[in-house]
């Protein structure tokens, strides 16, 4: 198991949040000397320079603004990602505003320090072993119904659903999207996925990519609007993750949310969707029995 880590900050020098991104990276190197620092400018001009390091490492990507230069630099690679940090979201989370000064003020330093501690904490908790999985796999509580030998699960918190059986899991101003346990059960073994292109702007309920089983082909109908910032490339190799772990390892794409406050109004939370799903299953069963 590879345990190497590297860090790629956006290094924006024209905004204080970019300077925070750079400072976080420097603090990480200071705290974890084994970690490799990737210079975004050098990576952009001669990426062969970092080829080996990137191949062998999991990366921490730090973006200072919505342009997400650091993210874009690794988007096209099949890069193992440990964590993505979006400084404005962290600033909100810690309620620390670094101001606009390009020479970091006390608050800016404090924010960078807090973020770096947070990353190290997570790193230790992961014991390095899990980090090749791009998205953190949290345990979650779920509602469950058993029909014959099949189980249908719905996470209790953190996920929102549309009536097309797709979910969104927001985290700050980004979100993961995927399909529900019910939908994966319905289509059965997924063999192929067509992932959307990174950078695509989508509206709520647009189709984003598709997945195909022996039985059928279906589109994923996005529960929210936004811009695709990453896709789960591992699904190309492991489409079965959508069946085995639809709410976590089987995530489909990551979006930068555009209008979630409004999108949210047309979505169900875990308990709402569970009720909806149960009704659907009962209806299907009744129809079957009727035909019988």
């Amino acid at each position: 198991m590879d345990k190497k880590l590297c860090v790629l900050p956006c290094n924006g020098i024209d905004k204080s949040l970019g300077v925070v991104a750079r400072t976080v990276a420097l603090k990480l190197i200071e705290k974890e000397p084994e970690m490799n620092l990737i210079c975004p400018v050098l990576l952009n001009t001669s990426d062969e320079r970092y080829e080996t390091i990137l191949k062998e490492s999991n990366i921490v990507i730090i973006d200072g603004c919505m342009t997400r230069c650091a993210t874009k630099l690794v988007d096209e690679r099949n890069q193992k990602i440990f964590k993505r940090i979006f400084i404005p979201a962290m600033s909100k989370q810690f309620k620390i505003k670094p101001g606009t000064n390009l020479e970091l003020n006390e608050n800016g330093q404090k924010l960078a320090e807090k973020i770096s501690i947070e990353i190290i904490k997570e790193l230790k908790a992961s014991e390095y072993d899990e980090i090749s999985i791009e998205k953190k796999l949290e345990e979650f509580d779920f509602y469950e119904i058993t029909v014959d030998k099949y189980y249908f699960q719905v996470p209790k918190d953190g996920y929102f659903f549309n009536e097309n059986d797709c979910w969104v899991k927001p985290n700050g101003n980004t979100a993961l999207i995927g399909i529900s346990d019910y939908l994966q059960n319905r289509v059965s073994d997924i063999m192929f996925v067509e992932l959307p292109k990174v950078g695509t702007e989508i509206e709520q309920f647009d189709d984003v990519g598709s997945f195909e089983s022996v039985k059928t082909v279906l589109d994923l109908i996005s529960p929210c609007s936004g811009r695709i910032i990453s896709v789960n490339k591992d699904l190309k190799e492991h489409p079965e993750w959508m069946n085995q772990d639809p709410y976590r390892k089987g995530w489909f794409a990551e979006l930068e949310l555009k209008n979630f406050d409004e999108d949210w109004e047309l979505l169900m939370d875990g308990s709402g969707y569970f009720k909806y799903m149960k009704e659907t299953i009962t209806k299907e069963k009744e129809e079957m029995d009727f035909k019988n």
Binding site: N164, T216, V217, E287, F290, K291
Partner: protein, 100 residues
């Protein structure tokens, strides 16, 4: 579809299904009656009519899953079209706000 199915009671996002004009429209100039859409659709939206000129029709329009347009992807001559999703979303929002 069985008789226990009652379209009158169906809703989508809290809106009566019958208030949402979402279903495919067949362009009979393009359609070559390959029936791929009908073979695909598990909801009995289409029906095949033997001996008629229009050998395929949209029969159960309200069975169509709102926002699903996967059948259109099976259509080689590109003869199927759907309403604009934004318009439909707007309509759903409008209905919901008026009927709170």
């Amino acid at each position: 579809m069985s008789e226990s199915y009652d379209p009158e009671k169906e809703t989508f996002m809290g809106v009566p299904r019958k208030k949402i004009p979402w279903w495919p429209t067949i362009d009979y100039v393009k359609c070559n009656f390959c029936m791929e859409c009908d073979k695909f659709c598990p909801h009995d939206v289409y029906a095949r009519i033997e001996g008629e000129e229009k050998k395929l029709i949209v029969k159960n329009q309200y069975n169509c899953v709102v926002f699903c347009r996967t059948c259109a992807k099976t259509c080689a001559p590109d003869a199927l079209s759907f309403p604009n999703k934004r318009e439909i979303t707007k309509l759903i929002k409008k209905f919901r706000s008026e009927n709170k």
